[in-house]
């Protein structure tokens, strides 16, 4: 049977879209379920009748109201925003300097150190939190959100450094050399030439740092006990699961709201991430 290129191409496209559709359903179902449950009344959530995939007994904003008025959700949100912002900035500053020196300065042992940095990332935090608990205790930071400023970067910095080493390697060395010959010192070159060109790599690292910090669960769970210092992830769960009673509506409302900042950040940064900013600098 002879098939034209066009029909074969169409067949491939159908398969592609089919696969994408399956993935879409798979990944979008949880957020859909979250949104759905958060707008349902408690009676409907607990009811075994009707179709669970639709709201049939009228939507309500009560769960959102309760979240803001009857829980410390806003405190958690504030804490998380502060910690995530600071952790992201701190981690990026350290990672950029580390990645730059590891990839460009070519000092003795740079290769081994680079591998070492990556290996530290491979140690799971479920092992690390026990010694960290000791250290944080010594520092007198238990039950303080600031402890997370020290702990979160231990996982974020190695990975971001690794991402950035990879990205920096794609920036032609002549670019820094040109800046040095042009009269810049290393810091000026880094700030005015190198980092503007490395924006896509920085965006990738920022997204990673932000997500890890925003979604961190184990460390706040282990180190923070009081509501005033707690973060969104742990706070929402501990407040809205009382013993064996799950306040599903509130939980889902809290989870949905907690998802929004990362989603907005991704949407905003995606353009920078994709556009290749180095084009035109060199021949290739």
């Amino acid at each position: 049977m002879i098939r034209s290129i066009k029909t074969r191409r169409q067949a491939v496209l159908v398969v592609c879209y089919g696969v994408i559709a399956v993935f879409m359903v798979f990944f979008l179902f949880p957020p859909y379920w979250m949104a759905l449950t958060s707008f349902k009344t408690n009676q409907e959530i607990e009811s075994l009748k009707g179709i669970p995939f639709l709201i049939q007994q009228g939507a309500t904003l009560k769960h959102y109201q309760d979240l803001f008025t009857k829980t410390d959700f806003l405190i958690y949100l504030k804490n998380t925003a502060i910690i995530t912002t600071l952790v992201t900035i701190l981690s990026l500053v350290i990672s950029v300097l580390a990645a730059y020196s590891l990839s460009r300065l070519g000092f003795i042992g740079a290769g081994i150190l680079g591998t070492g940095v990556f290996l530290t990332y491979l140690v799971p935090d479920t092992l690390l939190f026990i010694p960290f608990f000791k250290i944080i205790g010594w520092l007198g930071l238990l039950n303080s959100k600031w402890s997370l400023l020290l702990v979160f970067p231990t996982a974020i910095v190695p990975f971001c450094t690794w991402i950035l080493i990879g990205y920096f390697a794609s920036i032609p060395r002549e670019l820094d050399e040109a800046a040095l010959v042009d009269g810049a010192n290393h810091l000026q070159m880094l700030l005015r030439i190198f980092l503007p060109v490395a924006v896509p790599g920085l965006v990738a690292a920022t997204m990673f740092a932000f997500t890890i910090s925003w979604a961190g669960f184990l460390y706040p769970m282990a180190f923070i006990f009081s509501n005033e210092e707690q973060l969104l992830t742990v706070g929402t769960v501990t407040t809205l699961i009382k013993g064996d009673v799950y306040h599903w509506g509130g939980l889902m409302a809290g989870a949905l709201l907690a998802c929004l900042p990362p989603v907005l950040l991704y949407a905003f940064l995606m353009d920078y991430y994709i556009s290749g900013l180095t084009s035109g600098s060199t021949k290739a």
């Binding site: 032609p172 002549e174 010959v181 042009d182 010192n185 005015r192 060109v197 035109g280 600098s281 060199t282």
Partner: protein, 364 residues
């Protein structure tokens, strides 16, 4: 304006010498070209002058200053890179102004200098564009512009034309030469292209394996190569090398091989006498072989089988076979011959080179 002196300069990467015992005196306002095949270590001395490469041992002087330990920014040099290395996030204007800004020049001065350089290079219209909106030739001009606005003591060019297409390369070559005439600045220029080296350089340094092979004016390298490498590297098509044995008969010396017997010119016999009975390499440039006329002495003439004819319009290149050796001759376009035909060729006697087979040095 300044001279550049390299003294006993060495560069080791791991245990390999990229540059070995290089001594060069580049005069004030001189256009000095470093040429050699890729990987010969010609870029490394340039980068050492720029301060981008640490010096293993030796000294680099710019002007009267020893610059070994100075960072690039304090050496008063400007460099143009092979891949241009323009700052992609800046406009052409900002690219050119960057070095001046770093040196805290007043704004009006920066403006004047950038416009001046842009006019000189014919890129006034492009000042507001970003590098990605430029063609290869335009980018190269911007890279040159970025170097000249600073009025440095020394220009360093690292294969600046290698990424351009052939036609543009020839055009930019002429422009660079003109620019040097105008700016009267010391230039060190690295290339692997011997044509660029010959046409641009006041003097040329031929390098191989990190060693300087010969330093001299272009025509000197061409007519008096010091060794077999320089002889083969400079000139296109390359010099023919013919394996011969020196013999003597009736008071004269002859270089012989199967199908060819050529008399050593009288003034060369004393230098070649010690090689009697030994193998030496005879070198002859394609243009120093001509179609034999009846008037040529018989001991300078040989018969060759034409294998390939390459008519270039102004001349014809003949790939010929003599015995087992291939010899290229560049003859007048009036010569009529076809492949598989035999042709009689004559040596221009005072253009014959001899090289010692062991040392590869010229016997002269």
């Amino acid at each position: 304006m300044a001279q550049v002196v390299l003294k006993d300069l060495n560069k080791k990467f791991d245990e390999v010498y990229a540059v070995k015992d290089v001594n060069l005196h580049i005069r004030d306002k001189e256009f000095m070209v470093l040429v050699g095949p890729s990987g010969c270590g010609k870029s490394t001395p340039l980068r050492m002058v720029a301060g981008l490469e640490e010096i293993t041992s030796g000294e680099v002087h710019i002007g009267e200053r020893l610059v070994n330990d100075l960072p690039p920014k304090d050496r008063d040099i400007a460099m143009v890179f092979q891949n241009y290395a323009l700052y992609p996030h800046m406009t052409v204007y900002d690219n050119m102004a960057f070095g001046l800004k770093m040196r805290k020049f007043p704004k009006p001065e920066i403006e004047t200098r950038v416009r001046e350089a842009a006019t000189l290079l014919g890129i006034q219209e492009l000042l507001k564009r970003k590098p990605r909106q430029l063609s290869g030739g335009q980018r190269q001009r911007v890279a040159v512009g970025r170097a000249i606005v600073r009025h440095p003591q020394v220009f360093l060019f690292d294969e600046p034309l290698s990424n351009l297409d052939a036609k543009l390369r020839v055009q930019m070559r002429v422009e660079l030469k003109r620019l040097h005439d105008r700016l009267e600045t010391t230039v060190i220029y690295v290339t692997h292209d011997q044509v660029e080296a010959m046409t641009l350089g006041d003097r040329v340094v031929v390098m191989k394996d990190g060693l300087v092979q010969q330093v001299g004016e272009p025509m000197e390298l061409y007519s008096k190569p010091r060794n077999k490498f320089v002889a083969g590297f400079i000139g296109s098509p390359a010099m023919n090398f013919i394996e011969t044995t020196i013999s003597d008969a009736s008071g004269a010396l002859y270089a012989e091989t199967a199908g060819l017997r050529v008399r050593v010119p009288a003034e060369r016999t004393s230098r070649l006498a010690p090689y009697k009975g030994q193998a030496v390499t005879l070198g002859i440039r394609p243009e120093d072989l001509q179609e034999a006329t009846g008037g040529d002495p018989q001991d300078l003439v040989f018969e060759a089988l034409v294998e390939v004819v390459e008519p270039l319009g102004s001349e014809i290149l003949l790939d010929t076979k003599v015995g087992t050796q291939t010899i290229v001759a560049r003859v007048d376009p009036t010569v009529s011959t076809k492949h598989h035909q035999k042709i009689r060729l004559a040596f221009v006697p005072d253009r014959i080179h001899f090289f010692d087979n062991k040392t590869e040095q010229a016997i002269a």
